[in-house]
């Protein structure tokens, strides 16, 4: 079995999850703890990737990252090649598609933290980022971790959005889900089944691992 799609998928999902964790958790903190005009709208927009069909999402990403877009041109100026149809574009696709999972779960978890803990800590001298990291986030950890693991699974399994912005280039951007599709297109059902089983097994192992981690820290 060619290992490239599996390694690529793991790399893409890991990087995408790193990105969505940083953006998702900090964004969730803002949404849960700050009140500002337009907050509801921002929340709704941030949830769009779940609501939109993957190919629609892929289309918009293509518009935003394509060769004629400002981002695409800047990338090309720096690296000499387009951003689309690279594994980095696959990371962006997976990150955009999976961000809402972390964001929503973390927002709910942070909002559920009793502000009394934060108040007690404030009186003790904690504030700002230190307060968030020492008090709020650990208290919300359960929900946040659940969101992150869901986001990872989603990033690992992305197909429609990835294939639109990164294409199906064997040895370059052909992730596991795309490889399964490609094998089916080639009528090679045996390999397709094997790849699908491996992908499912990896996802299950990771999710079980997260559960074990959760248990051992509470």
């Amino acid at each position: 079995m060619d290992l490239f799609p599996l390694l690529l998928s793991l790399r893409v999902a890991a990087l995408a999850t790193l990105i969505t964790t940083v953006i998702g958790v900090s964004g969730a903190y803002v949404l849960a703890r700050l009140d500002f005009p337009g907050r509801g709208l921002l929340e709704a927009v941030a949830s769009l990737p779940i609501v939109l069909p993957p190919t629609v999402l892929g289309y918009y990403l293509l518009v935003v990252l394509g060769r004629t877009s400002p981002i695409g041109r800047a990338w090309e100026a720096v690296t000499g090649g387009p951003l689309v149809f690279t594994w980095q574009a696959a990371v962006i696709a997976a990150a955009v598609a999976s961000l809402p999972y972390t964001l929503r779960a973390a927002t709910a978890a942070i909002a559920a933290v009793d502000t009394a803990y934060e108040e007690a800590a404030r009186v003790c001298g904690l504030h700002g980022a230190r307060l968030a990291i020492t008090v709020t986030l650990p208290l919300a950890a359960r929900g946040i971790v659940a969101g992150i693991s869901l986001a990872f699974a989603r990033a690992l399994g992305d197909f429609g959005t990835t294939i639109m912005v990164a294409g199906n280039i064997p040895g370059r951007t052909q992730t596991m889900p795309i490889a399964v599709y490609d094998r089916v297109q080639a009528f090679d059902y045996a390999t397709a089944g094997l790849l699908a089983a491996v992908l499912a097994a990896v996802a299950i192992i990771v999710l079980l691992g997260v559960r074990w981690l959760e248990r051992s820290t509470t």
Partner: protein
């Protein structure tokens, strides 16, 4: 030391049985332990929150030894984390994911990590909780947790100590023990303290003086019996709904 309070704020939810009313606190308190007494819903908790900086008054000024905590007329509002006040709430609110020692050390504001740990141990000793140092809050009883909360409140070398019915959820013998600890600590440290309670026994044991709260207003009281009678009177919450 002198705590000068002259603030207004609105209290309560218009839809609740006690209705909304206005807090209008004008008083001055010298050092020692001042018990803030009065019926439920009189605004005692609100007063402490205003002093701590957890709530903002709509108007007025609070100053400790001449230094303003807030002064709405000149736009000053010192946030809670800068006031160097210690506070113990009705619930301990200790961080469950950290050890007891770590919980107290977090509130020590200066020094290296090792210094803070040492200081935390000293504070735990003062409240009689040294052997709890390496446990987690979840493993402690309510009384033990409040001891730790007290140690934490003292950790930042506060200039003012606020306690909002800290022992009301605990058993009588535990309460007695803890009350004694508070009394001793306040005396030895000479720490100005406001202690909210609506338990008349606590008033008798602790008070150097009494601030009586009634419907948002506060009066310094010299006659403890009168205060106790007022405390036993039905509060706004207890009145039958109109």
């Amino acid at each position: 030391m002198s705590l000068t309070v002259d603030v207004r704020a609105s209290v309560g939810d218009p839809l609740s049985p006690s209705g909304a009313f206005h807090l209008d606190a004008r008083f001055e308190v010298a050092g020692g332990l001042t018990v803030v007494a009065g019926p439920s819903g009189a605004g005692k908790t609100r007063l402490l929150r205003l002093l701590a900086g957890l709530d903002r008054p709509s108007d007025g000024r609070i100053a400790l030894d001449g230094e303003p905590f807030c002064d709405l007329a000149s736009g000053v509002h010192l946030p809670a984390h800068e006031r160097r006040i210690g506070m113990v709430f009705q619930q301990p609110f200790l961080l469950p994911h950290r050890s007891i020692r770590s919980n107290v050390a977090l509130a020590v504001r200066t020094g290296t990590r090792a210094d803070r740990r040492d200081e935390a141990m000293e504070l735990l000793e003062q409240v009689g909780g040294v052997d709890l140092a390496h446990r987690r809050p979840g493993q402690l009883s309510g009384g033990q947790q409040q001891r730790v909360a007290l140690a934490r409140a003292l950790a930042g070398h506060p200039r003012l100590l606020l306690l909002d019915e800290p022992f009301s959820a605990l058993d009588v013998p535990v309460r007695d023990r803890l009350r004694r600890i508070v009394r001793d600590l306040v005396s030895t440290a000479g720490l100005p303290t406001l202690f909210v309670t609506h338990d008349p026994d606590e008033l008798l044991v602790l008070a150097d003086r009494v601030l009586l709260a009634e419907h948002g207003r506060f009066m310094t009281v010299t006659d403890p019996d009168g205060a106790i009678a007022a405390m036993r009177a039905p509060g706004p919450q207890d009145r039958p709904a109109r």
